[in-house]
């Protein structure tokens, strides 16, 4: 037959129809569905060998143990270590996403290290008279802290400044915990430890707002804002009826007289009988632990009165250090330094701890002072310092984590260092040691050796979840295991003396009318950087107050002319910071509920007062 065009058409047509009858074309269409999955711009997860690594979280002083699931040695998810004697497997929201920090957009990757070094050396060269070179360490007790102290001892007029370490707390020993607004269940101490001990003590929370701790408490006393003092004194009144207590600060007795239970009831809004009952309970149901905001004299006083020292407040030995480290500068308090005397100030904020208001630091600086800060981001003192040098972030930096406040025994553990830090970062300890011509590269290893040599304590190995006496571990294994996330925990020495509890001086009372609002902190102190995924709790739900934001009662908000979402300045006597405002009827009137964040924490100290100004 001849191939005319007509035949050709017929052929193709027939072929097409025939093809339709086979599954082939339909299969093709079905598969094309898969192609539409590859939506442009969506990164594909990497593949690789899955391994597990152990370490400790250095985001906060708790230093919880972490198990990282790694793909090709890159941590992709973090979890607690269940059997861990200190953290008991708990990990907070920040810790769980800690492995994102190296990729945080706000993270510093390079800085003027050379220039800073030059400037500092120049300044050191021309120190006049009593002008000092100071290191401000926000998380004392680390090996790095020892390096600083040694360096400062070696440098002329060197001073080592750090916040006073609080007395260790033995939560396990407490039968009653009376908290004056301490965030026991929200970022206090070691979360896992608190939760583990929870079933053994009765928790009484006196706080104006129903914080997470208040919700978890056995008894919540919704006191009037700023009336912690009144309540404490009211209770102290009742407790002190019979016995006299030594060591109470000057003027305490006078202040006590101002607050008989009736007054306390009037101020705090808690019934007089209830206060009496509370006092009785605290007396009968010991051992008692009274917690207040950091440096609250009233909590300390009550602890003293109730005989907490030696029972719930214990003296903690420090982890051993090499003997040749002993000639080190003493730990000094910033307040003890005369004003205008610091010529060179080196601030290490790479390990978050208690933040000091810049105003307090500023007054101590000499003119032409050189301030260098070592930080993850520009958000901290970087705003004021001349030089901000980037440091390795968690989980890049190899550092040790001192025991948390609720750890009665000394501990030594290393922060996780699973990810290689960028080239631009500086190790603050090395920088400072360099100034003093000190070799501190292997400080951690030296200290580990010293600890092992002491033969004290035991070593917990997370991979096997076993504790072995330190003396049974081979010296070089000891260091290896520490690097693999092991924790050394000191033995409790039975015959340790009760700690000397000195109650801080009472603050000058009478709130100034300039700051009408009482500051209530209900969010944990957030690290300088948090994973972008925390948006789940800050932004994509209203579970937590976002960093650098405050919540006000509708009436107060109206008074300040603010509504939800408006920008404002939070002002205290320590300075001011820009914040976002949320209006919330759950916040009692007269209270400004503040979130975490370096900015806010620097200006909001213990029971401070504030005002919110529209900006």
């Amino acid at each position: 037959m001849t191939t005319t065009r007509r035949n050709l058409f017929k052929l193709t047509g027939g072929a097409a129809v025939g093809a339709m009858l086979t599954p082939a074309p339909w299969r093709l269409i079905t598969d094309s569905a898969l192609w539409s999955e590859n939506w442009p711009g969506i990164p594909r997860p990497r593949r690789g060998e899955v391994t597990f690594q152990f370490g400790n979280c250095s985001l906060c002083p708790a230093g919880c143990a972490v198990r990282a699931r790694c793909v090709a040695n890159q941590p992709v998810s973090l979890a607690g270590v269940a059997a861990h004697p200190l953290s008991h497997g708990a990990l907070c929201a920040f810790g769980i996403a800690g492995h994102h920090l190296p990729y945080h957009p706000g993270r510093l990757k390079s800085g003027p290290a050379a220039e800073a070094n030059q400037a500092v050396r120049a300044a050191l060269g021309q120190l006049r008279g009593a002008e000092r070179c100071a290191v401000l360490d926000l998380r004392p007790g680390r090996t790095a802290s020892w390096t600083y102290r040694r360096a400062m001892a070696a440098i002329r007029n060197g001073v080592y400044l750090a916040p006073a370490a609080p007395i260790a707390i033995n939560l396990a020993a407490a039968k009653t915990v009376f908290s004056l607004g301490a965030p026991l269940f929200d970022g206090w101490g070691t979360p896992g430890n608190v939760i583990a001990a929870r079933d053994h003590f009765r928790l009484i929370q006196a706080e104006p707002v129903e914080s997470r701790t208040a919700i978890m408490a056995d008894l919540w006393l919704p006191i009037r804002p700023g009336s912690e003092e009144a309540l404490a004194l009211g209770i102290a009144n009742l407790l002190l009826k019979e016995k006299k207590i030594a060591g109470l600060p000057a003027g305490f007795a006078d202040r006590l007289r101002e607050f008989p239970p009736t007054m306390a009831a009037m101020h705090s809004g808690i019934g007089e009988q209830q206060i009496a009952a509370l006092a009785r309970e605290l007396q009968d149901n010991g051992p008692v632990l009274v917690l207040g905001e950091n440096g609250s004299p009233y909590a300390a006083a009550l602890n003293l009165i109730l005989g907490a020292p030696g029972r719930t407040l214990v003296l903690r030995r420090e982890a051993p250090v090499p003997d040749d480290w002993k000639k080190a500068a003493p730990v000094a308090d910033l307040a003890s330094v005369p004003d205008g005397s610091i010529r060179v100030l080196l601030i290490d904020e790479s390990a978050t701890g208690e933040a000091l208001p810049w105003s307090a630091i500023q007054s101590k600086l000499a003119e032409k002072a050189v301030v260098v800060t070592f930080a993850w981001s520009k958000e901290g003192y970087g705003r004021q310092a001349a030089f901000t040098l980037p440091t390795a972030v968690y989980p890049e930096s190899l550092d040790d984590i001192p025991p948390a406040v609720d750890s009665p025994a000394a501990a030594f553990r290393l922060s996780a260092a699973w990810v290689a830090p960028p080239d631009g970062v500086v190790n603050p300890a090395d920088f400072v040691a360099g100034l003093a011509g000190l070799a501190a590269k292997d400080a951690l290893q030296e200290r580990a050796a010293a600890i092992r040599k002491s033969g004290r304590g035991s070593l917990f190995v997370p991979s096997s979840a076993t504790s072995t006496p330190a003396r049974d571990v081979k010296p070089d294994d000891f260091w290896k295991m520490l690097q693999a996330g092991a924790t050394w925990i000191d033995d409790l020495d039975a015959n340790a003396p009760a700690p000397k509890l000195d109650v801080p001086a009472l603050p000058a009372g009478t709130a100034s009318s300039a700051f009408p609002l009482v500051v209530v902190v209900t969010e944990p102190d957030t690290p300088a950087l948090v994973s972008p995924l925390l948006s789940k709790v800050y932004q994509e739900s209203n579970l937590r107050l976002a960093p650098e934001s405050v919540a006000l009662h509708p009436s107060d908000a109206r008074a300040c002319g603010l509504e939800t979402g408006s920008r404002a300045r939070l002002e205290t006597d320590c300075g001011s910071v820009a914040v976002n405002v949320t209006v919330d009827s759950d916040v009692p009137p007269g209270v400004v509920q503040v979130a975490g964040g370096p900015g806010i924490r620097k200006i909001c100290g213990a029971s401070s007062r504030a005002r919110v100004v529209r900006s």
Binding site: I29, T30, A33, S36
Partner: protein, 435 residues
């Protein structure tokens, strides 16, 4: 000169003996709508390119303006199928006078709704999945299938109207095809009725089957909840009303008599009849729902109406004010005879059905289901509104075009004999713009 020639060419396209405004005036009339269309297309483009974050919908208000208006528009477009059904199946020949217009309206409504739906879904490229992996238990599948089929039917029904154009008709092939296709229209009308019956219903079913939303959930029989049938009846009721409205509107704008007033009254009567049935059924359904369906699922019906602004007034407005009242007006010959009443009642009927669609869409989503979530509000973004305005403009354009060049109203020519054509030279061009 060229202008005159193009004007002449344009006249050649208009059917013999029909008075239509001059070409420039027609262009003048179309311009604003074209502008609106372009704006709307831009808004829709934003939603397609940047994603649905351009809208004010959110996880709780998963449906918004678009779904509400789609439901309304499709209900109004039901005139096409219902009139077709009456003319070709029930042989109600009087309605021939509006059937063409009805088809165009139907086409506009359905194609517009489908277009908006394409913007509304997050992954329009996957629209065909519904046909490929259909979940036959989903009301939405039923809707998708029926609407696409019916849109095809409408397109085919529209074809003869186009081919009858005076110029096209000169092409023998067109002439013959139109003739043959017209002979088979009754088949399409039948299919259209079948399809419409199901998708109008399943549009209601969409909400009726939401077991998790006791406000919308209804019992029913077999797979169809009661709303399924309510939607069919209400659509059939409001379809003729909408044709009535549009016809009157076109008569006003074009200043012509297009259909005999008896036809309008007939439409009104049919509408009123269906509406009455609807109101009755709706009332019974509501009572059952309040007293059995809702309480059985743990939701006392009273609470739905205690969140402002959705008080019981909305129930009253839906059933009585915009249901019973127009139904009675349309069923009262004396009132029906008065064009004012006729039109007003038809408008109210349309409003009532729109309100019903609004309630089913917006109130359903606004009401809290968990004891600890809140009553939510929602306001459409300009992109959402713009997208819908595009559909409106598109509708006006298509209709105006069809009205100018095709015979939408067969009786127009005979009727124009009766009224001496008014001189509109000094009248406002848009109003006088008789397309």
């Amino acid at each position: 000169m060229a202008n005159a020639m193009s004007d002449q060419a344009d006249k050649e396209l208009i059917s013999r003996g029909l008075k239509r405004c001059s070409t420039p005036r027609f262009v003048l009339w179309m311009l604003p709508w074209v502008a609106l269309l372009i704006f709307g297309l831009y808004a829709a483009g934003l939603c397609l390119v940047k994603g649905l974050n351009q809208t004010n919908m959110d996880n709780r208000f998963a449906f918004g303006l678009w779904i509400f208006l789609d439901l309304t528009v499709i209900a109004l477009g039901a005139g096409a199928f219902f009139t077709g059904f009456l003319v070709y199946i029930l042989k109600l020949r009087e309605l021939r006078a509006v059937i063409n217009s009805a088809v165009v309206i139907g086409l506009v409504c359905y194609s517009g709704a489908v277009a908006v739906l394409m913007v509304d879904v997050g992954q329009p490229l996957r629209a065909w999945f519904t046909f490929w992996y259909p979940n036959v238990h989903s009301m939405l599948t039923e809707v998708t299938f029926c609407i696409t089929c019916y849109l095809t039917v409408l397109a085919i029904e529209y074809l003869p109207i186009v081919l009858k154009n005076r110029k096209l008709r000169e092409v023998p092939a067109f002439l013959v095809f139109e003739f043959q296709l017209h002979k088979l229209t009754y088949v399409l009308a039948g299919v259209g009725t079948f399809l419409s019956f199901f998708h109008q219903g399943s549009l209601g079913g969409l909400y009726g089957v939401l077991r998790g939303r006791p406000f919308a959930f209804r019992e029913g029989f077999f797979v169809w909840p009661s709303i399924f049938f309510l939607f069919i009846i209400s659509a059939a009721a409001v379809g003729p009303s909408f044709i009535l409205l549009t016809t009157c509107l076109v008569q006003k704008i074009s200043r012509k008599r297009l259909v005999r007033v008896e036809v309008l009254r007939l439409l009104g009567r049919i509408s009123g009849l269906m509406l009455a049935v609807y109101v009755l059924a709706k009332t019974v359904d509501t009572l059952i729902w309040i007293n059995r369906t809702s309480p059985e699922r743990g939701f006392p019906a009273s609470q739905y109406y205690s969140w402002n602004p959705f008080g019981t007034w909305i129930l009253f407005a839906e059933i009585v004010l915009f249901g019973l009242v127009p139904a009675l007006v349309l069923l009262t010959p004396r009132l029906r005879a008065r064009t004012g009443w006729l039109v007003a009642a038809a408008a109210m009927a349309c409003g009532g059905v729109a309100l019903n669609r609004f309630v089913m869409t917006v109130q359903t989503l606004a009401l809290p289901t968990l004891s600890f979530d809140r009553f939510l509000s929602y306001a459409p973004s300009w992109q959402e509104t713009g997208t819908f305005l595009a559909v409106v403009a598109y509708g006006v354009l298509v209709y105006s075009f069809s009205f100018r060049y095709f015979r939408l109203f067969p009786d127009e020519r005979e009727l124009q004999a009766a009224v001496p054509p008014t001189d509109t030279r000094e009248a406002d061009p848009i109003l006088a713009g008789r397309y």
